[in-house]
Symmetry: C2
Subunit: 161 residues, 2 copies
């Protein structure tokens, strides 16, 4: 069982991943996967533009790394921490990899697949139902995204003047 | 515009990919992506067990290859042909990569995300809505899966005797 302190620590690691994305000009989204003993087995940050690959979201990169580290595609009893609510692709990958708990920070009203637009984790027919825990460091995660998009708009404004 | 003959040809290529999966002991599912001129820019077959990676579905591999070949994450006006109805992860990746048309063979009553269990392509709030075309070579695609699972059950039965 992860303690409350553990959970905060892992979300801070996910935020550090997001900041790494931001440094490289990407939308700041980061993810971390830990095994049941609390060992970090996967990390990732959004690299869609860097890699020119629509599948290179933070969660996907972290899941691939975790599977590689464990040598198996089932991430039984593992937890994923991500700064933004997963999109349908990532929520689907979380179901497919049998991750148990998903902690996310900011909500995504445009593409969130854990309650905001659709809720894939509660679809009865699917063969696995991850547990979603919303709102850990929500304000910090949301602010990071707001600041990023504000800076982009500011830059575009300056370029147009 | 792809002709009816073209579409049959591309689904047969996806079926050939599925047979390649089967040869390697994987559930036979295959995918092909073509650009608006009908050039094949991505192919993939299910490699979940081979790679011990929950994200290694046929469609994901084909999308990653297509992005790499085009040097961009947007697969505008491209078509995907896949032997089985995409799962939520793959349907989400199709939305994320802006693929236009998705032709699939067999329906997936357990995990299909293009109408069978959920229908992600028609969720209004998402920023892209691929067009799903069901049933091209449905019987052949479904039979391939049935034969695969029947052979597995037969083998297990023999081993238990």
């Amino acid at each position: 069982m992860l303690s409350s302190d553990d959970k905060q620590k892992y979300m801070q690691l996910a935020i550090a991943q997001a900041k790494e994305a931001e440094k490289q000009g990407e939308v700041p989204i980061g993810a971390v996967i830990v095994d049941p003993d609390g060992k970090v087995i996967g990390t990732g940050y959004n690299r869609r533009e860097l890699d020119e690959d629509a599948t290179q979201h933070a969660e996907m990169i972290a899941i691939k790394e975790a599977c590689k580290n464990l040598g198996m595609w089932r991430l039984i009893d593992c937890s994923l921490f991500v700064t933004l609510e997963p999109c349908p692709m990532c929520a689907g990958a979380i179901i497919n990899s049998r991750i148990k708990d998903v902690y996310f920070g900011a909500l995504d009203p445009k593409a969130g697949a854990c309650g905001s637009v659709v809720d894939l984790f509660t679809v009865e027919k699917f063969n696995h139902h991850p547990h979603a825990i919303r709102g850990l460091y929500r304000d910090q995660c949301a602010q990071m995204l707001k600041d990023f998009f504000r800076a982009i708009r500011q830059k575009q404004k300056e370029e147009n003047n």
